[in-house]
């Protein structure tokens, strides 16, 4: 994290920030830079998990439009191969195909982004800093490389102004003649299939929009699991649903207990954001997002109830027995 002096200087500098821009344009700049800049470096990821702050260091290399993240898992983005993941030294698995590109993302106009100002050095690079606000509250502070626009650091804050998640380069080399990441070679195929909206079953819970401006951008299926992808232009939210019910014994005990509709749900932080799991109406729902916790909960709470509500186990037995006994009565 920055030194206290640098942070203080930044905050003072930002206090008189110039007119704000609508939408998270700096992240669009960062996207383009990550896809067109050759770089390699070490990233420090930290996230708050209850009272504990967890952290991991990962190396990243990018060249010729390809990017690879090296951690306990490896992740690869290549224009020709989509997205691939390798778990703990295993082979590459194709998780996402170029043909599965979501539809147009919203413009993120619900957010207010401050104009860039000079920031501190991050990993030896000169930064420009922007803040993203929503309804008057600071959500994120983003440090971009002044020369290339590459993301150098991104800090997410809770409503009390404390950092809940941060991603920051500790070392970074930009623009050298880096070789593109090696071809993945053979790979297992685990990408889902796109689903047309008119092919959804009656029991699917996949409204076109959720609370707080989240718009549906994709529908996918992988076996019995339906994946509905939403975006508000800055953050993304996936709602996975599958037939069944959730037993408490299958839920890790570390989760924070919350409610979604009438159901008990459990919320967990992960390195990239929040995860909420619950069951309702004969389905198990898992929501994954990089959005702040309150936004994720508001969005999933705006999901309509599943079209059918199954009886409890005992209720089903009773109903079945009654149905069979009636003709004999």
């Amino acid at each position: 994290m920055r030194s206290g002096v640098a942070t203080a200087a930044l905050v003072l500098g930002m206090a008189g920030a110039a007119p704000a821009l609508a939408g998270p344009a700096p992240l669009e700049q960062a996207r383009e830079a990550a896809e067109h800049t050759a770089f390699e470096g070490v990233l420090h990821v930290r996230w708050r998990d209850g009272d504990v702050t967890r952290s991991e260091r990962l190396t990243v290399e990018a060249a010729s439009g390809a990017l690879v993240v090296h951690g306990a898992n490896r992740v690869m983005a290549r224009p020709a191969f989509g997205r691939l993941v390798s778990h703990r030294g295993g082979g590459w698995e194709e998780m996402w195909l170029p043909s599965l590109a979501p539809t147009h993302r919203p413009d993120g106009s619900k957010y207010v982004t401050t104009s860039p100002v000079d920031g501190p050095q991050v990993a030896g690079r000169t930064s420009r800093v922007v803040e993203v606000h929503h309804e008057g509250a600071l959500l994120e502070r983003i440090y971009l490389d002044a020369e290339t626009g590459l993301l150098l650091e991104r800090d997410q804050f809770d409503p009390q102004g404390a950092v809940v998640r941060t991603l920051a380069f500790e070392s970074l080399t930009i623009g050298h003649a880096l070789a593109p990441p090696a071809d993945p070679g053979s790979k297992a195929h685990h990408a889902p299939k796109a689903v047309a909206p008119d092919r959804l079953g009656r029991s699917a819970v996949a409204p076109g929009a959720l609370a707080d401006g989240y718009q549906r951008t994709g529908l996918y299926r992988d076996g019995s699991v339906l994946h509905v992808l939403y975006s508000d232009g800055m953050y993304d939210l996936s709602v996975f649903q599958q037939p069944g019910r959730l037993r408490r014994s299958d839920v890790p005990p570390s989760g924070e207990r919350v409610t979604v509709g009438r159901a008990t749900a459990w919320r967990y932080p992960w390195a990239g954001g929040q995860l909420v799991v619950w069951s309702s109406g004969g389905k198990v729902f898992t929501a994954v997002s990089d959005a702040p916790a309150d936004q994720v909960l508001a969005a999933v709470r705006s999901l309509p109830p599943a079209p059918t509500r199954d009886l409890s186990l005992l209720g089903k037995v009773r109903r079945a027995c009654q149905a069979l006994m009636e003709p004999l009565g």
Binding site: L27, A30, R31, L43, V45, E56, L58, V60, G71, A72, N73, R74, V75, R83, V85, M95, W96, L100, P102, L150, L151, R154, L167, Y220, V225, H227, L229, D236, S238, Q242, P243, G244, R245, L246, R247, D250, P252, S254, R257, R262, T264, Y268, A271, G272, L275, S279, V284, T286, D290, D310, S312, L313, L314, V317, A320, C321, L324, M325, P327, L328
Partner: protein, 158 residues
Amino acid sequence: MSDFGSGSFGSGSFGASAHLGDALSALLDGELPPVQEGAAQAHLAGCPSCAHELLAVTQARSWVRALPPVEPPFGLFERMLLERTQGGTGVSLRRRAGLAAVGAAAAAVMVLGVGSPSQRPVSPAVPRMVEAHATGASVGADLLSKLVPVGVPVSFGR
């Protein structure tokens, strides 16, 4: 009587019964919202009848789940309906009772074992879902923000 019978739980969607009834099963499955679960536990502490039923349901569930899936005898339902339309003439009470017992057992096994896949316990494949989310969301977005966290395996309660 505890607040269960007159509180929001008893007068809610589970019905206005003074006892837990079907909510016992939901309680065992951990499907009750926190407020209702608390009310149910309070009711159980003061209601021997519901406590006894909870014990019986727990035991019955374990017995039924231990049974192998079976198919009802071919023509069972048709014979039952035929008896109904014929007014049951010539069929002994003992046979009716036997058929009812077989039918109820078959229905229970079908409901629990094969007839209700939507109620099977499911443990979501969370790591794969996180990866599907992040990789899908990274298309058209900043690669570093979306993809770097996937390099950290998903693990809870470390």
